[in-house]
Amino acid sequence: MARVQIPSLLRPLVNGQEMVTAEGRTLGEVIAALEVAYPGIAARLCEGGELSPQLTAWIDGRPARRGLREPLGAESQVQFLPAMGGG
């Protein structure tokens, strides 16, 4: 089970929880599982079938590079941070 840290603005959708768990071998599968448990959450995280370009998913403390296809370990921790760019 991946442990997903829920950003504060999403918490109303998950009954105020800061951390939830979800099943999935990829980020996309985890979000799909979350959507089943907490309808509406996928629309907030994704856009046009991809992770929202305004977000970066961090998996186990590192920014994910494959978007929804990012593979997850059995105990992976997932976070969603605002996207960042360098100059």
Partner: protein, 749 residues
Amino acid sequence: MSEQYTVIGTRPPRVDAPAKVTGQAVFATDVVLPGMLHGKILRSPHAHARIRRLDTRRAEALPGVRAVVTAQDLPAARDITRRLGEGAINFKFMCDNTLASDKVLYVGHAVAAVAADEPHIAEQALDLIEVEYEPLPAVVDILQAIAAEAPLLHPTLHTRSLAGVSERPSNLAAHYQAIKGNPAQGFAQADVIVEREFRTQTVHQGYLEPHASVAFWGPDGIITIYTCTQGAFAVRDAVAELLQYPQAKIVVIPTEVGGAFGGKNTSYFDVVAALLSRQAGRPVRIVMSRAEVLQATGPSSGTVIRVKVGATCDGRLTAAQAELYYEAGAYPGSPVGSGMHVMFAPYDIPNGQLDGYDVLVNKPRISSYRAPGATPACFAAEAVMDELAEKLGLDPLEFRLRNCAREGTRNIDGSTHGHIGARQVIEAAQKHPHYTTPLEGANRGRGVAIGYWGNWGSISSCTIGVNADGTVNLLLGSVDVSGTRTSLAMQAAEVLGLPLDKVHPTVGNTAQVGYTEVSAGSRTTFATGQAVIRAAQAVIEQMRARAADLWNVPVEEVDFERGVFYTGHDDRQTMSFADLAAQLNQTGGPITGVGNLDAQNWGAGFGLHIADVEVDPETGQVNILRYTAIQDVGRAIHPTEVEGQIQGGAVQGIGWALWEGYRYDANGQMLNPTLLDYKMPTALDLPPIEAVLVQETYPHHPFGLRGVGETPIVPPPGALANAIYRATGARMSELPMTPEYILRQMKVL
């Protein structure tokens, strides 16, 4: 890989220097193609207006005019947002920013373009283009833009956040939030709380070279574009998207880049030059004027930042909170996420909340600028930390050390620090003679600030080809904006066991080399460096096989060290790189090594700056007496170039701190679109900048380096604000800290 390096860590002359000191280096504005025309762009005089009518017929009729284009000549763009270059962009917005269709959103917004035989004819033609505007109310102030009655830039744009989409349209394009622990409880535990509001102005990267492109749309359908960019592939992809044209038929040839600092990640008029060329059937060159650079390319956000930080009597931080409002300009996409990320990154704070707001205003769309978003956030955080330390009676470095982030510390935005050197730079500062020597004299003060930048890895490609004389060609996908041909060739030379002068680095065009991300985010020496190492290793592997063939031994028996192939059991079986290279064409043909990768595990950078100033108490003028910039750089590949990055970055930060800032009137007209009034520092405004390299090998790069280019722009405003406070007794909460502002804070005015 050997522990003792022969090339890494040395200070050879940079490979691009001879061409640059003789005037022979070719920048985009120097490119001349046969039959080339001169393009110019008509720009909006209004900050916000509807285009009622646009008539180019008189311009087309002017003798010497060969092409005129408007937004009508661009195919309809896809309304989707994708990452391109350094950030996310909606293609419809990108298209609209290239040539405005129904509305202009800032002074300088491109409306039409012409190409003519001579520049002055093109200029005259612009006068003949008739545009009827319906002026609309403009908004340039960040807080006014999100007020209820503000004029809307995009009437259908709603605020987006993880909480959903706002009900009403708004200039507030996005809201981000992060909470760590329990902020309210953290503040309740604090003995001292400091709460302040900060404002910073829009600033520009200030590269000396205005944007320039030469485009030729050939009869074969190939579009060739010479341009100054941080990433040839980013330009190619933007042109392909805007024209909906095959990527393979667009060849972007990156020229020398006359300074970029994030501002040349974006393609502004490559497409326009291409369209003009198609119409004219001849190459077209477009070069921006300085006023166009300042008014029509992406500067960095002006900001409003509210900060609240609490600590206990023994100097422990308990909670921190910040609201960050960042200008996006005319289209969404400010670096507020980065601002949130860096804001309290040097510190270990148990509780906190960050709210970031991306705000549309009638200014050009924000582009990256060296550690985008970080400098204003650091300024605000470090001024508050300085005030807290003072209230607690603690030395500012000691206070920072007590609360210093380390590996594993969780940032308020949710990210976790990897291997970092925050503690190391603070300790280096404590021991540095600059800090241990007391500053004496009236009206003088010393300030410190610590700044952070996360850096980047990402995608790079390169090819190494071996020549028969033992030299190698290194073809790089990374544009060289900071001396990376040298720092990358050095990594190749080290791996290949060759002296640097045997490695000839070249920046490739999009038809020659694999996809490579923009040279941005302090990533090139780190990430492309690893691609280079891979390519070099691939060369060695193939050459070992050739040696094995020649000696008729299994390849596993061929070793390679310091440029020599050998087997352990026969003294005759030894061959230098050059000797083996000479045999390649007789032993199966050429060898090339390719390095392609998406580099991960990049290391973040911390910088601690110490500034001594003297402030004229009657005029408010700041004289910087001494300046030291300390940074953890991992291992410096080329220490002199690293010093140069630190000195240059620090001085840009100093300019931001003291002089630079866009000034607008209420109608959105920029009041200072020249280098006389957009005041960048001259040699006379600065002291020597001492760069101190804290070199501790970074574990996730073969040579142990971190990115270095961006961190040094982050601390200067904080360090100077704190120094000015010590000199005057007045706290600073705005950038730039002009003499007039300082006098006002001192209550002299």
